[in-house]
Amino acid sequence: MTDRYDDFAISTQNLTKTYKGVEALRSLDLKVPRNSIFGFLGPNGAGKSTAIKLLLGLIKPTSGSGSVFGLDIVNESSGIRQRIGYLPQNPKYYNYMTAREILRFTAGFFYNRRDGIIERRIDEVLELAGLADKADRSVKGFSGGELQRLGIAQAQVNSPELLILDEPAASLDPMGRRDVLDVMRALKGKTTIFYSTHILDDVERVSDTVGILNRGELVALAPIRDLLTASHSVIYDIVMHGESEALESRVSSQPWVSCVRVVTDGGCTRWSLTATDEISAERNLLRMILGDDNIVVKEFTRRRDELEDVFMRVVEGDCNG
């Protein structure tokens, strides 16, 4: 098999997909470094699954191009699929098979059945996914979490160079989520992992690089550390009681405030205020709030920009209240 080596496991240029005149994906320029864990973020309908299906050759691009390990996603799709493992968003399997049979069937696409590798790999991935005790049960009775674990197991049965996971933790309980993250951490540096998610905590914990997709367009692409340090913003989370509209408009108009997000919940108002000038904010913010007799402050905390803040800013744009 040809391997036109470059530094990127995935590379796309102006990759576009249009459905009946609607652009699901618009001029995607993506570079995923080899052996990185790449978090592909975006709200529902942003085009994440479309991008993944294009990489897998399940759909064809309207325009643009892309490659995986230097192989063209349109003309060399079979060669690409030899070297990747894929977990669909809602994995579905043949109900009459057991977990072991599903894995044997999957492995049959990669290994020669006579080599004896298959059974060894099946035992390894069953152990890895925590399904060893359920291996000979029909998948018909599997819970959503067990199906997801089986999905992770089948995606790894060929020891892929690239693992593509579409919302891998979406239907898992907290322990299942932790296990998935552990698996991803264990593969760090050995395999490239490209995964889509909307669970930002997970991304912050395991990813090296992040791409944020919104309405079919890539709006951010950077190593996660760069993304978090680039803004130099400070966030103040304030919970208060009382009439806060007038105060909000006064605070929002300050030159050192870039954004105030307001959530009202059970009589409390929660602000998430982004300040661009930390010194001015330290000097003035709390004084302004406490100077308003109409409100009572319940909580006041200060923190650095988190991925969620960056995500909200990039997806919703800079806000003014």
């Binding site: 897998l56 699929r81 030899q82 070297r83 669909p88 579905k92 990669f110």
Partner: protein, 266 residues
């Protein structure tokens, strides 16, 4: 790094054997083969045996003409091919209508086609396994059982002519399997596939009344041709043309399915 085979391969056959084994497993590794065997033995062989038994109880004057002139064997063959020609079409349509659509709807197509499985191999393995199951259970087994019950009722069947007749019945099955698989790559719903396939089958009783020539290019009269072959009626153009056209249609449907599946967005 995986130690799997990364050599150059012919892309269109990628994954075909593995998928074919899986499709066979769906036939022979589940209860499906038992259900189909019982069903078709009851419907085809059972109904022929029942009618032959009734014939034996009738007075000579009440027996059908064919029983009198050609004997028990021919009567059995006529019954057999008439029942097969009608029920096998219905059976094949029902058995194969969701081969492609169920995979699309359930999401398993997205999963298996993300593996090194070519789309052509995906279709051909389904076609091959279905054809094998239907051939063994509906054509060969029922043919053998007919042979057996005809012998029990003291009838005679010529082996070679009978196999020719069975071959024509097999062609009917091939036509409808390929037709329905093709529809599965074109139409988006199970109802659509079933509706079009059954409409075509039922049309076979009406269109020839208006256009008798349609018999020559469609498989509508093949069960009668199968009977003709089985009782050694001579070959002629009227018999050969529908057979040739059925083969041509089947090949066109296979080609169409392979073309469509490559265009399909999963």
């Amino acid at each position: 790094m995986a130690d799997y085979n990364k050599g150059n391969r012919k892309e269109w056959t990628d994954g075909m054997w593995n998928m074919f084994l899986k499709e066979n497993r769906a036939w022979w590794g589940t209860g499906k083969w038992i259900v189909q065997t019982v069903l078709w033995t009851g419907v085809v062989t059972g109904s022929v045996a029942f009618v032959l038994y009734v014939f034996t109880t009738l007075p000579v004057a009440a027996k059908p003409e064919i029983y009198d002139t050609l004997g028990t064997g021919a009567a059995a063959l006529q019954l057999f091919f008439n029942v097969c020609g009608f029920t096998y079409v219905i059976g094949v349509i029902i058995l194969t209508h969701d081969l492609i659509i169920s995979e699309k709807e359930s999401g398993t197509a997205e999963w298996v086609l993300s593996k090194p499985l070519s789309r052509k191999a995906f279709v051909l393995s389904k076609l091959g396994a279905s054809l094998m199951g239907i051939t063994l259970i509906m054509v060969l087994l029922q043919g053998f059982l007919l042979f057996l019950i005809t012998w029990i009722f003291h009838g005679e069947i010529g082996l070679i002519p009978f196999f020719k007749g069975l071959g024509v019945i097999w062609l009917i099955c091939l036509f409808y399997i390929t037709f329905v698989i093709f529809l599965g790559t074109v139409v988006k719903t199970r109802g659509g596939v079933l509706g079009i396939a059954f409409l075509f089958f039922l049309t076979g009783n009406l269109v020839p009344l208006l256009y008798p020539e349609s018999y020559f290019i469609m498989p509508w009269k093949l069960s009668k041709i199968a009977f003709s072959f089985s009782v050694n009626i001579a070959w002629n153009a009227k018999v050969i043309l529908p057979i040739v056209m059925t083969v041509v249609w089947s090949l066109l449907f296979i080609a169409g399915s392979l073309w469509r599946i490559e265009k399909m967005e999963i």
